[in-house]
Amino acid sequence: MDPLATHSLPGNPARRRWLGRLRDGLGLLGLIRFASLWPSLGAAAWPEASFHAEKLEAALATLGPGPLTKDPTLGIVAPELAENGAVVPVRIDTERRPQSIAILVAGNPVPMVARFEFAPGVRGHLSIRIKMGQSSDITVVVADGEGLHVNRRRVEVTIGGCG
């Protein structure tokens, strides 16, 4: 099934979202991905540059060329004090309809923890359990047709959980 065909109906809100994606430059990657008709897992889709970045800023830069806009409405629920950094539950809530969400931890040896790509019907809510090597900010970046939205949440870690 070709998703482009169903998303190209004139006046369809999904089509406008598509055009927004193309405009923001991030969308080009998405187009290539969708146009390839679900390549099998492992078809070079894993964003290597994101996970090879050793610093938070470098990892953030791999998310796209646009500026990061602070979004206080982007909810990040995590414990203020995590006794065990090996399992830190994180919940992300946004009323936006994300095209993608990235989770980063500045204090980890690999700051990029996860990147998610969403189909249009997926809500802006995620729960996941991550590792934190030390006390640090959790940084979340939500990409939608308007750009890149960022928020942070500090977590104090008693026993680091990356090694």
């Binding site: 099934m1 998703p3 969708f34 679900w38 897992l41 492992g42 889709a45 894993w46 964003p47 994101s50 996970f51 090996a86 399992v87 830190v88 931890v105 980890n108 040896p109 690999v110 990029m112 923890v113 996860a114 990147r115 998610f116 790509e117 969403f118 189909a119 019907g121 997926v122 809500r123 809510h125 995620l126 729960s127 996941i128 359990r129 991550i130 590792k131 959980g161 990356c162 090694g163």
Partner: protein, 107 residues
């Protein structure tokens, strides 16, 4: 895989389907012992959900996801009985896949 690694629970609220997925996987970062012996990392790199044959959500992960990964998310437009495929691929090239249908309640 001698046993299914992927467990799924489904919940519905006002037409919104929530998927809760638990995967059995060590999610190990690279380790270097004091003697310099290197143990390569072993973690799920890609996790994909296909709903009715179409991509719903794809996750790209590094070693920073906790052992036995848990993921919860919600989506519109699903119906009980719809086809759902969940598949993952890890850094060693191992993979697993669950072919199922959306359950009315607990899966």
């Amino acid at each position: 895989m001698d046993r299914p690694s992927i467990r799924l629970r489904t919940e519905w609220r006002e037409g919104v389907c929530t998927l809760r997925v638990l995967i059995k996987h060590p999610m190990e970062p690279e380790r270097v012992s004091e003697s310099g012996e290197r143990t390569p990392s072993h973690f799920i790199k890609e996790l994909r959900f296909l709903h009715q044959g179409r991509e719903l959500l794809t996750a790209y992960w590094g070693p920073g996801i906790a052992r036995n990964p848990y993921l919860e998310f919600s989506f519109d437009g699903g119906s009980v009985g719809d086809e759902l495929v969940i598949e993952w691929l890890d850094s060693r090239g191992e993979r697993d896949r669950l072919d199922t249908r959306l359950d009315a309640a607990a899966g």
